[in-house]
């Protein structure tokens, strides 16, 4: 495939005086997990909404697999799957019914929709609760159901807007496993997140977004290397070795209990790239 999965040029979107997207450029090659890292209000959700045709850009252009998100909305919607932090599932319907509905609306036949729903429920460990109402699901189960719904029609591009925000560590791990599996299968994934660890684990390429613009791009290592030195902390087996340790480490084999390498954190990356902290409140749009 030579065509880009996502191609964004000079994209702007304002809400009153707030410029959620402020001349954003972005290119995503097909077949990779692309991580979009940024704090609240950086413009991540706005970008995902523009790419999924939910929101019209104020200026600039965006193409999804060669199709313009404004002029060719139907073509774009046929090619994307959307899932995110709000877990858009119908509480009164069962997990299976939720999936079948989305599959049917994605133009799959009733038979195929039912087959895929069963397969997805299995795949996302929801088979046991398939015929229970989604209102009885835990937060992690709802997110997995939401993800399954976004993927039910095997779209070539999947947009995941902060899929793990607010999840407990175990649910987060489960979702990470699911995303990693997508990558192995060659689906293009745009993953937005506030967590460096998440893109570090999953994404082949990362872009850092701040105030509606991409401020840095590269592989996870490149980004972190650009920021600064790693910290190596060494835990010694014998406390008495402490004084000699630093000098000896470089030349001799000293018994080491644990080595911890601390790479720059998200905060470091942000501070370095944007000049302000990640947690600093920035106006968030809906």
């Amino acid at each position: 495939m030579s065509e880009l999965a996502v191609e964004v040029n000079g994209l702007k979107r304002s809400f009153g005086d707030v410029h959620a997207l402020n001349g954003l450029h972005l290119e995503i090659k097909p077949g990779i997990v692309f991580g979009l890292l940024g704090p609240n209000g950086a413009g991540k959700t706005t970008l995902v909404r523009v790419l999924s045709t939910l929101l019209q850009p104020s200026a600039g252009s965006a193409r999804v697999l060669g199709h313009d998100v404004v002029a060719d909305q139907l073509a774009v919607r046929r090619r994307i799957g959307l899932a995110g932090q709000f877990a858009a599932v119908d509480n009164e319907l069962t997990g299976r019914e939720n999936l079948i509905m989305v599959a049917r609306l994605s133009r799959l036949s009733a038979k195929e929709a039912a087959r895929r729903a069963t397969e997805s429920l299995e795949r996302y460990s929801l088979a046991d609760v398939a015929d229970r109402r989604a209102s009885t699901y835990s937060g992690g189960m709802r997110r997995r159901l939401d993800l399954a719904a976004g993927l039910i029609a095997s779209p070539p591009l999947v947009l995941l807007d902060e899929p793990t925000t607010g999840l407990d560590p175990r649910s987060r791990q489960e979702l990470w496993d699911a995303i990693a599996a997508l990558q192995r299968e060659g689906t293009t994934v745009l993953l937005t997140t506030q967590y460096l660890e998440e893109v570090d684990r999953l994404a082949e390429r990362i872009a850092v977004i701040d105030q509606g613009r991409i401020v840095a791009q590269g592989t996870p290592s490149e980004l972190k290397d650009a920021v600064g030195q790693s910290t190596v902390s060494v835990q010694l087996t014998n406390a008495a070795d402490q004084d000699a340790a630093l000098a000896a480490l470089s030349q001799h084999g000293i018994a080491v209990g644990a080595v911890d390498i601390q790479r720059p954190s998200l905060d470091d990356v942000f501070l370095e790239l944007t000049g302000h902290k990640a947690e600093e409140p920035v106006l968030e749009q809906a």
Binding site: R49, T53, R184
Partner: protein
Amino acid sequence: MTRVPERPGGRGAEPLAYSISDRRHLTPAEVLSDTRVLAGRQLRKVLRRPMYVVFLFIQPVLFVLLFRYVFGGAINTGHLSYVNYLMPGIIVMTATFGSMTTGLGLTEDMAGGVVDRLRSLPISHAAILIGRTAADMVTNLVTLVVMIGIGLLVGFRPSQPIYDFILAVLLTLAFAYVFSWISAWVGLASKNPETAQSVGFIWVFPLVFASSAFTPTTHMVAPVKAFANVNPITLLTNAARDLMVGGHSATAPALWALVWMVGLLLLFVPLAVRQLRRA
């Protein structure tokens, strides 16, 4: 779950079960199929929450009791007994209030992200609203049947031929369908369920009460009377009343009610669809 089983051969090996179409527009058959799926979803949800339907009855039943047994005696309705005068009005009111659930449901779906999910699918935006309003019409029909039953219990005695009676119910149902679209527009335009709850109902109150639903308009103060006489709810109530218990010819009010319905539909269908695109 710590392990996600892959399909044998991975995604690349499994051919897409459908080819991605490149048509720029959906076919009418596709829109119809989407509408059916979405209406089915809505009806299924209603069946799962029967209390929700019961709530739709509580208010009209209270109104029946209040007007039939408390205020009714003081209202002069000429040759018609008050209960026969009242019940067509109650039926119209029930349908009108019932149609307000369209907007409330849509704001709920918006807040839950379901509207975003639906809008990101390759379906017609209109189908989302047509499916929803169609399902609400079915719910409305059920509430109307129940209210007619309650009317019969408290002494309502329709005197006109059954086909006239059915025509009155169909006219009322069509009217409620039109109001569903207004409600959809109001609901989509108000950004949260709380606003929709208050704003969503406020605009129907003057329409329902400054009408001939509960009392003849004859004794209303002049400006209210002028409003009431052109109010679509008055026209519909008069038509339904004439078709159910007789009195005057239903033709004129029924035609005027239809004119209102067509006009409102032409106005609010595009407004609601446009509002959904912006939601």
